[in-house]
């Protein structure tokens, strides 16, 4: 991984429908479709896992758990409850956060960092941004600092909202409100994008 991570562009808008179709096929036990589904979302799943758990090997483990859960539960995926990709990313996030919380004690030490430090990018690590991802960045920029910090500390660092309140030294009620209105702003911005 050190020199050339073999980057591949992640498709933007167009792939959402494909992922839904692929998941429907996976639900029927189609392992070829599962391979293609992997190709479509592996970078998103692994990238999120990597961002949350940090350690590359553990991120791989998390990604593997995520795909196995997707494989196992595909027959029960309920399309009325949202897009397939959202479902997969929700599983990925939950698994990643669980992994971080499991090793909270040793992990949290070096992450007791200032919020701005948490936003850093790993040097030498290229993050691919297709158009869709540029839109996310632009939309995140429309959030207030407190909204952004609250949302990011929870989503990317796995902190609970009371922990975020402590880290940012703000009242609980403020933080949970900022998480909500921050996400609402992000949603509205992405819908308009």
């Amino acid at each position: 991984m050190a020199s050339e991570p073999g980057l591949r562009l992640v498709h933007g808008q167009g792939s959402g429908g494909d992922i839904d179709v692929l998941l429907t096929r996976v639900a029927r036990g189609d392992s070829e479709a599962f391979g293609r589904l992997y190709d479509e979302v592996a970078a998103a799943v692994y990238g999120l896992a990597r961002r949350v758990v940090r350690d590359p090997e553990r991120a791989e483990d998390v990604a593997q758990e995520v795909f196995l859960e997707v494989w196992r539960k595909a027959p029960r995926f309920d399309r009325s409850l949202g897009k397939a990709k959202t479902w997969i990313m929700t599983i990925a996030h939950r698994r990643a956060v669980d992994a971080v919380r499991r090793s909270e004690a040793d992990k949290r030490h070096d992450q007791h960092a200032a919020p701005d430090e948490l936003d850093r990018e790993e040097p030498g690590e290229a993050v691919i941004r297709a158009e869709e991802h540029g839109a996310v960045r632009d939309c995140l920029d429309t959030l207030t600092d407190l909204q952004m910090e609250s949302v990011r500390l929870a989503y990317f660092n796995g902190y609970t909202y009371p922990e975020v309140a402590t880290l940012l030294d703000r009242p609980l009620a403020t933080i949970k409100t900022r998480m909500r209105d921050g996400l609402i702003r992000l949603r509205d911005c992405l819908q308009g994008a």
């Binding site: 392992s31 990313m89 609402i184």
Partner: protein, 233 residues
């Protein structure tokens, strides 16, 4: 329901609640149709944020994942058709006979987050709004419809019974869990609007509903209006 709980939708969508709070919030969603929709949309926004961190995994991961999946059985869909063969117990045969026509109408129909309306009891609503919920609508032989939801995370199953025909005061709907052909009461539906929750039955078990005399019966005394196979989650 309090504004206070409602505003947790953001923290919930970010997985930033403790498991107790998450459960409480899921209960709240049962009282708040708009919350389910909001959570869905906020999760989608969060997922976009997650996807913006895309990073190509090491190439070896693909083969490992596919090989691991090869060894992993998939979960069956929530409602499965019975094989109908080799059933020994008389009651079960009756149950299957009654259920055959009913199950033919099962279309694997799914429900939305707002399913059930605001009157569902809290435990029932909690299952319907669990993040890993799977739900299906099933017609019953007495002309009604039930919606069944299961959540592996909560280890619970719930039945929304508000679309079942009303019964006289002398009768009650009773839930049964059938393990190895043996029906065991899983509770009475005392309020059809509220529905009924029960622990997720063990693998291979079936769940039936019968109409029984008020107060319920120790064993089913009538043919079931529906039989389901929720299977193992």
């Amino acid at each position: 329901m309090s504004d206070d709980l409602h505003t947790l939708s953001g923290a919930y969508a970010l997985d930033a609640l403790s498991s107790d709070e998450a459960r409480e919030f899921e209960g709240h969603m049962g009282d708040c149709a708009s919350c389910g929709t909001e959570v869905l949309e906020l999760r989608e926004a969060a997922a976009s944020m997650g996807a913006s961190e895309a990073l190509t995994p090491p190439p070896a991961l693909r083969a490992r994942v596919l090989a691991a999946a090869e060894r992993q059985p998939q979960l069956p869909p929530l409602v499965t058709r019975f094989d109908g063969a080799g059933k020994k117990r008389r009651w079960r045969r009756i149950a299957l006979g009654a259920a055959a026509a009913v199950l033919a109408a099962v279309a694997g129909v799914t429900v939305t987050q707002t399913q059930g309306g605001p009157e569902l009891s809290r435990p029932v609503a909690a299952v319907f709004h669990a993040p890993d919920v799977h739900s299906t609508q099933v017609r019953t032989s007495n002309g009604g419809t039930i919606t069944v939801a299961t959540s592996q995370r909560l280890d619970e199953m719930a039945v929304d019974t508000h679309q079942l025909p009303g019964l006289s005061k002398a009768q009650v709907y009773q839930l049964w869990s059938i393990v190895a052909g043996q029906p065991k009461s899983a509770g009475l539906v005392t309020d059809v609007a509220a529905g009924q929750a029960m622990p997720l039955p063990p693998a291979g078990a079936e769940v039936a509903i019968t109409i029984e005399p008020a107060g319920g019966s120790r064993q089913p005394t009538s043919q079931p209006i529906v039989v389901l196979s929720p299977s193992r989650v």
